[in-house]
């Protein structure tokens, strides 16, 4: 067990290092949220006049939206990295060493989780710099980050499974481009549910992206609705576990297809 933990750490370290050394990724994952914050923030600035946002400043409302959308969009690409490691022969090289098979999978999950958490913290800090107000304090922010990290885990694990299964860049690109905007806009990322059409609200109830938003925003409120946090957070956790389980199964089937 302790060997698995140590090896998980080696694998995590390796992934994080690769991430740091490729400034393009860093740039995309940090510049993009800034652009979104700025664009959506300017575009919808007056929308809070309609009421129902629980705040007079749209930026307050927007920050969790951008945190969650960024967690979704960056983790969706995890499968590309896995695909590259398969094609390059790296994964097979590790599989011929005594490294624990679990550590290979866990390394992906943990490093993606760390990256998502760091990215979320940075967006929250940028929001603060821009003048956003977080009435729920540090607890609320921490729970938002947990929720976005869980959501990232769900989509990171699914993307990895897809990469191992289809082994085609086009499929990952296609699915991601197809899913990102509907998943984001069929949620209360940018719009309060009271202003959403009824059918959209119903769909949003089944959208994990929305679960992360409801959990995060509820926790960040001045007077948090802990029941909302617990139900949505619990659902996310269950889904994340299921997704990781699925990608572990896919990993096994990959090993059989080598």
């Amino acid at each position: 067990m302790s060997a698995t933990l140590t090896q998980t750490w080696y694998m995590t370290q390796r992934q994080l290092m690769a991430y740091w050394r490729q400034p393009v990724f860093l740039l995309i994952n940090l510049i993009q949220p800034v652009i979104w914050l700025f664009l959506f923030g300017s575009l919808f600035r007056k929308i809070t006049d309609l009421g129902g946002f629980g705040t007079g400043s749209y930026l307050d409302y927007l920050v969790p939206g951008i945190v969650v959308m960024s967690a979704l969009s960056s983790n969706m690409w995890a499968g590309m990295g896995t695909l590259e490691e398969i094609e390059r022969g790296t994964l097979n090289r590790f599989l011929t060493t005594p490294v624990s098979r679990g550590a290979l999978m866990n390394g992906n999950v943990v490093s993606q989780g760390i990256t998502t958490a760091v990215q979320s913290v940075i967006i929250v800090a940028l929001g603060k710099l821009g003048g956003a107000d977080y009435p729920g304090g540090i607890t609320g922010l921490a729970l938002l980050i947990v929720a976005s990290t869980l959501l990232g885990t769900v989509f990171g694990a699914l993307s990895n499974a897809l990469g191992m299964l289809v082994r085609e860049r086009e499929s990952i690109i296609g699915i991601n481009t197809f899913l990102l905007l509907p998943l984001t806009f069929l949620s209360e990322a940018f719009m309060t549910p009271s202003l959403m059409p009824g059918w959209m609200r119903h769909i949003a109830d089944f959208n994990p992206v929305n679960w992360a938003l409801v959990a995060g925003r509820s926790a960040m409120a001045e007077d948090p609705d802990w029941a909302d946090v617990a139900t949505r957070g619990g659902a996310l956790l269950a889904l994340a576990l299921a997704a990781v389980w699925l990608s572990t199964r896919t990993f096994r089937s990959y090993q059989r297809s080598v």
Binding site: Y10, R14, A18, I86, E87, R88, G89, P98
Partner: protein, 351 residues
């Protein structure tokens, strides 16, 4: 000792410890490609063993099974005395693998790649760093060791791949086509390195290649594989000695008519010291006890049959001839046949 065709290794071989032993390995990939069809190998410890065969013969599949990556559909295999299916962990600890694509991490430095690899075998700390330095120096990568691998030349990457396979001092080292895609200079360097490795105490090297010359040069014993099975096994000299005499190739100025081929072949086979005559259009090939002496006789016989000869060549037997003899087709033909059909879903194609 005569080369053995297919079948298990002769009994006297088994008395020495076997580094690799396989028994009737069968592997069919999804889509119905039968990659292995009764692969039988017995590799003694401490030698360089060559698995020679054209593309698609099943070499990499054999290596994948022996290195615990893939599972056979049937048959058994043991490496360093451990069964690959029952004790994969023990096998992994005992082997080093240099695959066709070993995938060193491009953003990590050569040294970081080595350190991580070493840690995966359970060593940490200063000993780890020492081993990495030792290997960097030995593979002429000392200067490049702290640079990211993505800046390495093809030859440097290849040397790093071999270093990665040696990091934990394995008992059995698998080299899957170690010189494919290398320029002649890098290939010569790699040959030298493999020859050097062969001298290491107790290290067994299983080398796959589709270069006849490479197997001839590096391997103490060779198994020629074709269509997923061993067609013949022995030392390079045994294999070549098994062929009777020199190869004589004649090119006629005009193709022989279809119906005239069999009588011409019979006429030539009847000549003293000439065997295994094959006539195919403009090409006539034969074995001769003494090639130089047989050429005039062959020319006269052909002239009498009304066939004019454009060129004649005599060659000492090569592994190519051995392959032709045992696999029933030439190496080039087999390579061409392997390239023609690309089965759907063959491992992750890069587009």
């Amino acid at each position: 000792m005569a080369p053995t065709t297919g079948g298990p290794a002769p009994h006297h071989l088994r008395t020495r410890a076997l580094a690799v032993e396989t028994n009737q390995l069968v592997k069919t990939y999804p889509g119905g490609v039968k990659a292995l069809d009764g692969m039988e190998l017995a590799v003694e410890s401490g030698i360089v063993f060559g698995l020679l065969g054209p593309n698609g013969a099943g070499k990499s599949t054999t290596v994948k099974i022996l290195t615990t990556l893939a599972r056979p559909d049937a048959g058994t295999a043991a490496v360093a005395g451990h069964d690959v299916l029952r004790h994969p962990g023990r096998v992994r600890a005992a082997i080093g693998v240099v695959a066709q694509k070993s995938g060193a991490d491009p953003v990590a430095t050569g040294r970081e790649n080595l350190l991580l690899q070493r840690r995966l075998y359970g060593l940490r700390g200063a000993a780890c760093a020492r081993r990495a330095d030792e290997l960097l120096a030995r593979f002429d990568l000392a200067d490049a060791g702290n640079r990211p691998v993505k800046g390495y030349s093809g030859g440097m990457c290849h040397r790093l791949d071999v270093a990665l396979g040696l990091v934990h001092r394995p008992e059995v080292l698998f080299l899957d086509e170690p010189t494919t895609g290398l320029d002649p200079e890098a290939r010569a360097a790699m040959w030298e390195e493999i020859a050097r490795l062969a001298g290491e105490d107790g290290l067994t090297i299983v080398l796959t290649t589709h270069y006849l010359e490479e197997a001839d040069r590096l391997a103490e014993r060779i198994a020629i594989v074709d269509r997923g099975r061993v067609v013949v096994e022995g030392t390079p000299d045994e294999l070549k000695g098994e062929l009777r005499g020199d190869a004589v190739h004649l090119e006629l100025s005009e193709a022989v008519a279809d119906g005239a081929e069999p009588p011409l072949r019979d006429a030539l086979t009847a000549l003293p010291g000439v065997h295994e005559v094959a006539v195919d259009g403009r090409r006539v090939s034969a074995r001769a006890d003494d090639g130089a002496a047989a050429v005039p006789t062959l020319l006269t016989a052909l002239e009498r049959a009304g066939a004019a000869v454009a060129t004649a060549t005599v060659a000492r037997p090569s592994l190519d001839d051995v392959y032709l003899r045992y696999a029933g087709r030439s190496f080039d033909e087999a390579e061409a046949a392997a390239e023609a059909p690309v089965p759907a879903g063959a491992a992750g194609g890069v587009r």
